[in-house]
Symmetry: C2
Amino acid sequence: MPAMPERTDAPTAEPAATGAPVAAGRNLLFLREEELRLAQDLLFFGYRDFTAGADQILAELGMGRAHHRVLHFVGRRPGITVGALLGILGITKQSLARVLTPLVEEEYVHQATGRSDRRQRLLSLTPKGQALERRLFERQREWVMRAYREAGPTAVEGFRRVMHGLMGPEARAQLEWLERPKG
Amino acid sequence: MPAMPERTDAPTAEPAATGAPVAAGRNLLFLREEELRLAQDLLFFGYRDFTAGADQILAELGMGRAHHRVLHFVGRRPGITVGALLGILGITKQSLARVLTPLVEEEYVHQATGRSDRRQRLLSLTPKGQALERRLFERQREWVMRAYREAGPTAVEGFRRVMHGLMGPEARAQLEWLERPKG
DNA sequence: CTGGTTTGGTCAGCGTCATTGACACATTTT
DNA sequence: AAAATGTGTCAATGACGCTGACCAAACCAG
């Protein structure tokens, strides 16, 4: 692979976005823009590399990221209903079924009939599912811990605040529910 | 698969997010784990909602996230070669072609033959491409700025540090190249 | 100049993960 | 009894990755 992109020089003279004359205010705007382009880059690269480790394990088992998400959220809220899981994942039940059905058949996930409402299927991880989820978790844990250590505790707090800010109202409510202590 | 503390319902249900109440070794480990599960959640929800706005615009044009990434990185480094773009995106040329060819045909992206090496195709955005990229950028800018404002400048710096830490060495080198001043 | 490598393009096929629409079934609610 | 809800399933579609194979143009080294 090409070790690094070679500096092939740009043909274009980089026509300034809206052709505005150089001014002090424009400079601030420019910096602001670069700041945000950097955020885009960071999110792209960071998220990609964050998931890469788990993806590798999953691929060996013939699974994908969708399986991981199910394992993760079912592990986080054992006894979650199918409907609640759909709400968190933000996908259709057909999409979920393609992943959940095999996970149940291969005994990673257990389904129990709801006691108050017997239409519900309460999902939880089997020991086999817990083991896989843990393996995936540990892989990502190493990766995230490395980043946390490099960045320091203050940065970690800032990271959390910004990521939370990137979430919409729906996701915020769901996150709150996820973190809610049981009982 | 480490036989770890069964996380399915910790009997000591006191995961109050607020700091360290009881200082037991096991407790610290528990908090550490919750911390990381939170990071997983934040990255999942945050990244999803970060991309949602642009995805909507793209869908109206019959495009997807892959198109956006090409527009973004070509816009960031006008004159970039196909090979360099492949390296940044981390995909195969067949995958890139499916997205790049239509973008060129519909005149969002311009290809110029390299002068020093005429095998190379130097990519840049046409005015049409610049307009679309800007539209997508503005949508994400609003979203990110909101998060930045909510979180504050210190948090933003921390966010950047952690996201950078989540990147692998390759991505770090590529980010450096992307940010390198032209000329 | 010739032969090997690099850059890029393309065909053909496959897998994952999402979508929509339609329908079925059990159970709960009205 | 009828309606609404929770879940499952069939069929078709699309976006976005992948591999393997092969080709052409251009560059580069002997």
